[in-house]
Amino acid sequence: MSHHHESIIREPLMTGKDITYAQITNDILLPVENKPNKAWWIGFTVSSLGALLWVVSISYTFWFGLGAWGLNKTVGWAWDITGFVWWVGIGHAGTLISAVLLIFRQNWRNSINRSAEAMTIFAVICAATYIVAHMGRPWLAYFTLPLPNQYGSLWVNWNSALMMDVFAISTYFSVSLLFWYTGLLPDIASIRDRATGLRRRIYSILSFGWTGSLKTWQRFETVSLILAGISTPLVLSVHTIVSFDFATSLEPGWHTTIFPPYFVAGAIFSGFAMVQTLLLVTRKVLGLENYITMFHIESMNKIIMLTGSIVGVAYITEFFIAWYSQVEYEQYAFINRATGPYWWAYWSMMSCNVISPQLFWSKKLRTSIKFSWFLSIIVNIGMWFERFVIIVTSLHRDYIPSSWAMFYPTWVDVSVFIGSIGLFFTMFLLFIRVLPSVAIAEVKLLLKTSSEQSKKKLIEEGHLDPVEVQYYKESLTKYDSIDMADYEKV
């Protein structure tokens, strides 16, 4: 027997009646094989306009230089690095879902990993645009590579955390892309074998000639597991190194050893929020309610609650250590954050990131789709403010009070940020049109073990402990895709 039955007390990972392997393929490929609906066109139009704004504002920056931004002598880093850290952080959830949950054999990852990984790639692209943009002269971007220059062999500064960033972000992006694309091969082959004409040719090239033979699958699973194994420390290293950009400096408020774990937790926190933002809409628009179920939504909300709490503890620890260290500058940096001219940013961060995720202790709230979506937006806003608070409030009042200043963004700053969101959604919407947004092959694995119909069949066969069956039925009530009337007679 290749399929073992899962314990009945586990919630189903896939709902729906009479689902077959063919129906899984049909359901998931529906948006890929048909003309997009109105909702998609509206979303795509709005996002492309955003992306256009990004093109305009980035071009303006390159043409006129960084003077187009609101930076000044005191606040030399503001929205650009805030946007960069925000996007990289968002990307982390995709790798966490695809790699960490694979290592822990969490099968609920199977239906959300594909779109979460796509989100990772698009978020890292958005982050990379900030790095290139803040160079001012992007045609000199190769200066970050260890190439000998024409004045002799003065090499890049390997002692700088920014150099580590170059290596971390480029490795993260390319390995994530590789992991994502390798996982896509069997699903691209599914599209290919159902398509005709030019579509078939294109998907044939993209499928690398995948056939699904025995050895292909066997090696595929080895490759997936090892990629997951190396992506796990990779994702932790990336945000650790991003935090080094601040932690290795001598700036009060930045120079803290708590930064690496605090940044990683914050990254996962914001990433899962963005996954919720995207998937709650995607599941509705593409009709994927049977695959991305309430169990997935609730699980992600639990992770948001956990990581939000870790972030909250980190905020409070920072404050405590500032007092405990008895360093006057460090203490001032924190008192200034909470009560200085940027108090509103600090308290937005605190209420969005620390207080609001605690609402998820309520089961009613964390299984409400509307509330989950609303809170995911709140968390995204809060995490943007976190980076803004760390960066701008630490810089704007430095050691010399005569050079204290405020940061005021220009229209270019604002447009680059809003534009990058447009760019992100444009890429995501194109992705769900041309590639399967759920990993077809991996979801098929769940059909005979963890689906609602297989569990219902087990109940009907009637060899199970009635107490466990009752527990199982109670756990089903939270699902919006299950009609409980079916279970009255069973």
Binding site: V156, L178, L185, P186, S190, R192, D193, L214, T222, L227
Partner: protein, 178 residues
């Protein structure tokens, strides 16, 4: 002489397909290959496929990546242009860790995946050698080389007994070339 090149047992359930493999093996009929829309766990043991050695390749590529970047760092920072940073030693290993780590991962990932593509003959533009178009959708296919494996009727019956929804006698090996 029959024109049949391949006999395909098409199953709609992976458990029945496993039964089909058992039936053929009991009768000493060699199986050419099995095509499935998803990985089937436990099939490797049944078919006698050895564990993949890609893990060893991954390890070697990881070592290569670490050595390459460590050498670059050592050459640039220690040999070629030692920077005097407050009189600290230029061969400062803690500083080498992030770079060495990243390139270990980078080389492992790409080295292993490219080895996988090469060993499985996957590359962009390769003509897909598909025996049945539904093998990537909802059919679990057992392929038996018709040559030498006679009588074909017996093979058909063995597959049918295991629950094959259809048994095809194909006169062409691959259907995907037209």
């Amino acid at each position: 002489m029959s024109k049949t090149k391949f006999i395909l047992g098409c199953f709609d359930d992976p458990d029945n397909m496993m039964q089909g493999i058992d039936n053929l093996q009991k009768n000493s009929i060699p199986i050419y290959d099995v095509y499935t829309p998803m990985p089937i766990h436990g099939i490797e043991d049944k078919m006698g496929v050895k564990d993949s050695r890609l893990g060893y390749a991954a390890f070697c590529f990881g070592c290569l990546g670490a050595s390459v970047i460590f050498s670059i760092l050592f050459y640039t920072l220690v040999l070629d242009w030692p920077l005097n940073v407050g009189g600290k030693p230029s061969f400062s290993i803690p500083n080498f860790v992030p770079f060495t780590f990243e390139w270990t991962i980078l080389f492992t990932a790409f080295g292993m995946t490219i080895t996988y593509f090469a060993s499985t003959h996957l590359f962009p533009g390769r003509a897909p050698r598909v025996m049945d178009l539904r093998a990537t959708d909802d059919r679990f296919i057992i392929a038996v080389d018709a040559k030498g494996n006679v009588p074909h009727e017996d093979i058909t019956n063995l597959l049918k007994q295991a629950g094959a929804v259809e048994v095809k006698h194909n006169e062409r090996k691959y259907v995907s070339y037209e």
